[in-house]
């Protein structure tokens, strides 16, 4: 089972100068996404604008719905019929989607949601940088659940992460959230759009059960995957947000409900290794280990290179998978570090996961900024000096 596409760096393709939001759109089209529904919201709107123009060119459908709730619901519907589907929004819109996120988890519907974060709570700071939705992505919808959340800090990475997001969602029949921020979303930088075939794309696993033979849409194989039959196609079945049996019909039989919730959790939590994507710099000898993601990781990388140049042993783990949190990897890499500094633009969200993961949580510090401005390399440098007792 290969849930993710593998990269063959052939260097071919075409070079573009795009916004991160446009990269999301182009990568989604590359990944085979053919149904998009969305509602305008800053700072994600360019994704919808690009796709309204781009999707029909490849025979796809892009619809502007009446709100974010309707957007995600219609993506779920389209995805069940067999199309790869996606929506994009920002924090307030993502809040509205939470009920449908739970539905997609329960009904095991593959789809991708891009959340271009803005400052919160509430309408917050629409055009400013923030990374405050990390925990909303983890726990936004009610009830126990597992969720996959990926992130990226550069446009080239973002292109690949988007493809991985679709591959993961199709492999595990689950919604995948791509969590970027206003900076990555609105910044322009060069990006190479690879030729077709450079990335391996995961297509939907379809059932081999022939027509008129009893098909169990919700009977997982041994590897946890559920072969699908396009909804509306040759097998008639039921889809529901209620606990359900293997035919998709509601059930409150304790054995059925127990098995289902464990299946929904385990299919992702037990495959963390397949779902963990990181980028690492100097993690073998780092005394000060930075951990960051999204736009913050750009500043972290900058200061890490800067400090390395003056001989400081600084390293960086850029998390491209935020959920399920790669705790074991973080613990392993941080074992020899004197200090761990989590760089994020919120009041501290991933930092708690890091503290839970590492052997010495008292050595974990937060370098953050929450005023709507991007955290700078200097901000991180100041914190590191304070930690080291050198003053600012």
């Amino acid at each position: 089972m290969t849930p993710t596409g593998t990269v063959t760096p052939t260097g071919t393709g075409t070079l573009h100068f795009l916004q991160g939001n446009e990269v999301c759109a182009e990568a989604a089209v590359y990944a085979g996404m053919r149904f998009y529904a969305g509602y305008p919201i800053t700072p994600s709107t360019e994704i919808a604008e690009r796709l309204a123009w781009r999707l029909p060119q490849v025979g796809g459908t892009c619809i502007q719905m009446e709100d974010e709730i309707g957007s995600l619901c219609s993506v779920i519907g389209a995805s069940l019929t067999g199309l790869k589907g996606m929506t994009a929004t920002s924090g307030p819109g993502y809040s509205l989607m939470q009920e449908a996120v739970g539905y997609a988890i329960m009904a095991e519907v593959p789809l991708v949601i891009v959340d271009v974060q803005r400052g919160g709570p509430s309408t917050g700071l629409p055009t400013h940088a923030s990374q405050g939705d990390v925990m909303q992505v983890r726990w936004g919808t009610h009830g126990d659940h597992a969720i996959v959340c990926l992130s990226a800090s550069t446009h080239q990475d973002l292109f690949e992460i988007m493809i991985r997001a679709f591959n993961v969602s199709e492999t595990f029949r689950t919604p995948v959230v791509v969590l970027i921020d206003e900076i990555v979303g609105h910044m322009r930088e060069p990006v190479r759009i690879p030729d077709a075939g450079e990335f391996e794309l995961t297509e939907r696993l379809l059932t081999s059960v022939p027509r008129d033979v009893d098909y169990h849409p919700y009977f997982p194989r041994e590897d946890g995957r559920l072969p699908m039959s396009h909804f509306g196609g040759e097998h008639r079945y039921n889809v529901t947000g209620l606990y359900h049996d293997m035919w998709g019909f509601p059930s409150d039989d304790p054995r059925v409900t127990n098995d289902l919730i464990h299946h929904l959790m385990n299919k992702l939590e037990n495959r963390k290794r397949d779902l963990t994507f990181t980028k690492e710099w100097y993690t073998d000898d780092a005394e000060i280990m930075l951990i960051s993601y999204g736009a913050s990781a750009r500043s972290a990388r900058h200061i890490m290179e800067d400090r390395r140049a003056v001989g400081m042993r600084m390293g960086l783990i850029e998390l491209q998978t935020l959920w399920p949190f790669p705790g074991e990897l973080v613990r392993e890499r941080c074992r020899q570090a004197n200090y761990v500094v989590v760089v994020e633009m919120n009041m501290g969200q991933i930092v708690h996961e890091v503290k839970t993961a590492v052997d010495r949580p008292e050595r974990v510090f937060l370098a953050n900024r929450v005023d709507g401005e991007m955290i700078t390399p200097v901000d991180i440098k100041h914190l590191v000096r304070v930690i080291q007792g050198k003053g600012i």
Partner: protein, 285 residues
């Protein structure tokens, strides 16, 4: 095919209370589908939450039980992704017009080819008898112990203003007419709305001294006036406002007009030109 062949018989008898009008809607709907000789595999039924939404569990089509009020949004995605499917969305009055009101008017505005059936029993039944946006002003409900203060929507006028291209109202008493209207609505290309006045003897009837199911259906018989074709045409634009309004609730077919259907319009006006133009060299729209 017999009407009951469209049922998932293993789940019968259904969960609805004795005398519940929703069963009559199920009955008429299956007769309409039988009359149209539709294949089970061609039909998708998408429902939301509530007593009405349970109808989807009993029919042997592609069925989806979604979120409260959101059935039309799910249906929009399914229909756009697979326009050949017949999409039927049964909804309750609260489901369609309170929590789902926004999706309702927008589906109507787009004129997407979906059949919306509003099973109007003037009450939230599944949660035990709360007032809905279709509960007549002054009526009793568990959340209106002094009578409701809110004015109800008129579904026909609402659908008309929102742009639905097929609008009808009927009752469970008029089951034969309901079958005819539902068949016509399913055949119609565009957004079709059929409001069915349905009885909830358990909550609405008991709270409002409306009697049992039979008495409530007699109320539909005696409290409605059938609009004729001429009236429907002359009252267009405000189809609910009829001269005979004082005599009762108007029922019948209020509107059936040809307007560009959404999926087809999207294909013709967006996808085909875009595909013909190709991607080109341009990097921006």
């Amino acid at each position: 095919m017999a009407v009951t062949d469209y049922l998932r018989r293993r789940f019968m008898p259904h969960i609805w209370c004795p005398g519940c009008g929703h069963g009559i809607v199920l009955n008429s709907l299956l007769r309409a589908i039988e009359k149209l000789e539709l294949e089970k595999n061609d039909i998708v039924m998408i429902s939301g939450i509530g007593c009405s939404a349970r109808i989807q569990g009993y029919v042997d089509f592609h069925t989806m039980h979604t979120l409260h009020g959101r059935a039309l949004a799910f249906a929009t995605g399914i229909k756009m992704a697979w326009p050949l499917l017949k999409v039927i969305v049964p909804m309750g009055d609260g489901d369609a017009l309170a929590i789902g009101g926004n999706h309702f008017i927008h589906a109507a505005r787009r004129n997407i080819d979906v059949t919306a059936i509003i099973m109007n029993n003037s009450i939230y039944g599944m949660t035990g008898g709360q007032h809905s946006p279709l509960t007549p002003c002054g009526d009793q409900a568990t959340t209106a112990p002094y009578g409701t203060v809110d004015s109800p929507f008129d579904v026909v006028r609402l659908a008309s203003a929102a742009g639905a291209s097929f609008i009808a109202r009927t009752t469970t008493y008029h089951a034969r007419e309901m079958t005819r209207l539902l068949a016509a609505a399913i055949e119609h290309r565009g957004f079709s709305v059929v409001e069915v006045l349905s009885q909830c003897p358990t909550y609405y009837g008991r709270k409002n001294d409306a009697g049992d199911a039979v008495a409530m259906m007699e109320g539909f018989r005696d409290g409605t006036v059938r609009i004729d074709r001429k009236t429907a045409e002359t009252s267009d634009g405000d189809p609910g406002r009829l001269d005979g309004e004082a005599a009762g609730t108007p029922i019948g077919l209020f509107r059936r007009e040809e307007r560009p259907e959404y999926c087809e319009a999207y294909r013709r006006r967006v996808v085909e030109p875009a595909m013909a133009a190709g991607r080109g060299e341009s990097e921006t729209p």
